[in-house]
Symmetry: C2
Subunit: 229 residues, 2 copies
């Protein structure tokens, strides 16, 4: 599975949270990192090149800071120009149909405010309807989004948990079975052992697998006991 990660951020270099996530996915051959502001500093988008790139990937991710409950100006320009008539819509063949589409959003306000009665009034599911409608129009499969709330207030363990969810968003096949997730995690660990900078994360991940496995074993023992009685 090939993933196209389309990042849009007006000031990516200075964004600590963006850098944290980007540093963790360097040199992964199945992920194409595509930073719009860097590629098109003057805003002139190479539409043909972008359309071609979309065709060559199976999963498309938009990653952006969730300012004013929406994408960035350049991401919107990209949508309007690249997903134009004859490509995005208005044609019988839909070139993106069947591909997966997902959002990774950095959000400055706490999760609890995104509901009726909260400061932000609406849920993330409600506020991202324009993106859901876009995926619908293009015939794409809308993935469960990754909303990263107040990254800088997170404890180290929560940050690592989020990092694993991020990698799953970028590389794990859409399948909720535990077997798939275990397989995916082992693959990730194998890749990591090739580099040496990610040792903390590896230790953390191994502990999590161990923990999960222990729980499953406990459950099995309880079940065995029940049937023996």
């Amino acid at each position: 599975m090939k993933t196209l990660l389309i990042i849009s951020h007006p000031d990516l270099i200075d964004s600590g949270s963006q850098q944290y996530f980007l540093n963790s996915i360097k040199n992964q051959e199945d992920i194409t990192i595509h930073h719009l502001e860097n590629l098109y500093p003057d805003g002139r988008i190479n539409v043909m090149k972008e359309q071609d790139l979309l065709k060559r990937h199976d999963r498309i991710i938009f990653q952006f800071p969730f300012y004013w409950y929406s994408g960035t100006p350049l991401l919107k320009k990209w949508q309007d120009e690249v997903l134009g008539e004859g490509f995005g819509y208005g044609t019988r063949k839909k070139p993106l149909a069947g591909k997966e589409f997902g959002l990774v959003m950095m959000i400055g306000v706490a999760e609890r405010e995104y509901q009726a009665g909260g400061e932000e009034l609406f849920t993330i599911s409600e506020l991202t309807k324009p993106f859901q409608a876009m995926a619908n129009k293009l015939g794409m499969i809308y993935l469960r989004p990754l909303s990263i709330f107040q990254f800088f207030y997170m404890e180290e363990e929560e940050k690592m948990n989020t990092l694993i969810k991020y990698w799953q968003m970028l590389t794990m096949e859409k399948d909720i079975s535990l077997a798939t997730r275990e397989k995916w995690l082992i693959q990730q660990l194998q890749k990591m052992t090739e580099s040496t900078t990610e040792l903390n994360t590896i230790t953390f991940a191994i502990e999590r697998i161990q923990e999960n496995r222990d729980k499953i074993d406990e459950l099995k023992m309880v079940l065995d006991d029940m049937f023996l009685e």
Copy 2:
């Protein structure tokens, strides 16, 4: 009441529907027409000037083509920069609190497609939640939007009806009583008689008032009959 009409359209001159509406509101002293692409062709927004302009108006309208279920790139840039921390949010005093906020959207697809089971899947109320959330954050009063569906397929009478709704959006006080609406319509007609180019519209509007008045008179007669028996 002073209205600030913020228009954003990548190609306003060539848009027939935009021109139709703009031509009808020339030289109205209570409406400030503010076309972003024209003012800021290089995208560099004068934030202080914009904030000052907002403060001096009572009703703020965003007018744009509803591409990909959202505003335009430059409108989003305007939101991100002008409604920044210390003005739009993150401060105790909310400079825009109590002002009115409305949307005028030109939409290329038929209204019936905007619902569950329709091609576009969601309603306009669902898709515009990011703007509703913005008004909520700023303490502004969100007006019923004006969604103009498939303007070019409209019959002449429907276009004129839409034009009247447009003027109401820009100039009529928020009040649903018939008396207010009649008063507003008469004011508009008085303004128009000062110019001579709008004769068709005047005739049409007068007919509508007459029609409404006839209906009210009929209703009164029915009520009178009921109480006499």
